[in-house]
């Protein structure tokens, strides 16, 4: 499918609005200045996207991701993903412990990723609900600890059944004094991509 520059620009601008809001909420959540930068919003072949994700993450250490289904007038899938060591740092920040206190994956690390996925996906839903007057409800986040490629494959499973191409909004998280490798992906499911394009230009 060929996508016009106008469509790509509109999607990128909406994505930037979402990410700005997410940046503020995330800073408040972990009580540190965080900037979330939109790296790209693009349409690409699913296999290319998966290969890119696998290259970004160190597959030896493992990753953690929270997948949320946003259902309603528009269906989206949301993924927050990070590597294991960053998830442990985020847990310490959330619990106001000195970073380095959490040394292994435990229930607190799992629920930290779950809660970040929950809050960030709610921002996405709220922005679309408020700005476009559509209904959207987030599911309980599903947390996966696995290789990044496996987590991403699970995230795109519904889309991969339908077509070869996916719209991906990709972002990176930067903490003031620590480099954090986190990604946030938003992907329309089914006909929602067309609905989003219609809403953007209506």
């Amino acid at each position: 499918m060929v996508h016009s520059n106008k469509t790509i620009n509109a999607i990128q601008m909406i994505a930037r609005l979402i990410i700005d809001e997410a940046s503020r909420a995330f800073s408040k959540m972990i009580r540190q200045g965080v900037s979330i930068e939109m790296q790209n919003a693009y349409f690409d072949d699913i296999s290319n996207v998966t290969a890119k994700i696998c290259n970004e993450y160190n597959e030896y250490k493992g990753s953690v991701g929270a997948i949320v289904d946003l259902t309603g007038d528009v269906k989206l899938k949301f993924l927050f993903m990070t590597d294991l060591s960053t998830a442990q740092i985020l847990t310490d920040l959330l619990l106001r412990r000195q970073t380095g206190t959490t040394k292994e994956y435990d229930i607190n690390v799992e629920s930290t990723v779950q809660e970040i996925g929950n809050v960030l996906s709610c921002i996405v839903a709220n922005m679309l609900v408020n700005d476009f007057q559509i209904s959207m409800t987030p599911s309980v986040p599903v947390v996966l600890r696995d290789f990044a490629g496996t987590i991403f494959a699970e995230f795109i499973r519904d889309v991969a059944d339908e077509r070869q191409e996916a719209l991906v909004v990709e972002s990176r998280f930067l903490l003031s004094n620590q480099k954090m490798k986190c990604h946030m992906f938003i992907m329309p499911v089914g006909e929602s991509e067309q609905i989003l394009q219609y809403l953007t230009f209506s």
Binding site: A25, L95, S111, C122, V140
Partner: protein, 122 residues
Amino acid sequence: MGKKIMVVDDAAVIRLMLKDILESHQFEVVGECSNGQDAIEKFKALKPDIVTMDIIMPNMDGVQALEEILKFDKNAKVIMVTALDQREFLMKAIRLGAADFIVKPFEDARVIAAIQRVARQI
């Protein structure tokens, strides 16, 4: 006088955060639950003064649990905890009789202010 609080949230880290905040302000956390169904059972058993109740949870969500708890005790004080103004759920909870609400991500002061405000009604 510290009130007895029960914390309901499916995220263990949020239960731990709320417990730390509440206990540092001399409130007693008498129970924790990770879903709405457990919350109803534990409310009946523990009879807490105040419940903090997450909205989106597996098995039974916080709004359904609120409804059941209020059927058991119409004077129950339940504070809804919601991620970034999920207004549809929140309005339903308010209509059912929720005592107050806290929006995640929250600050300690907001949590304590809500608990103290509700505690004064008891």
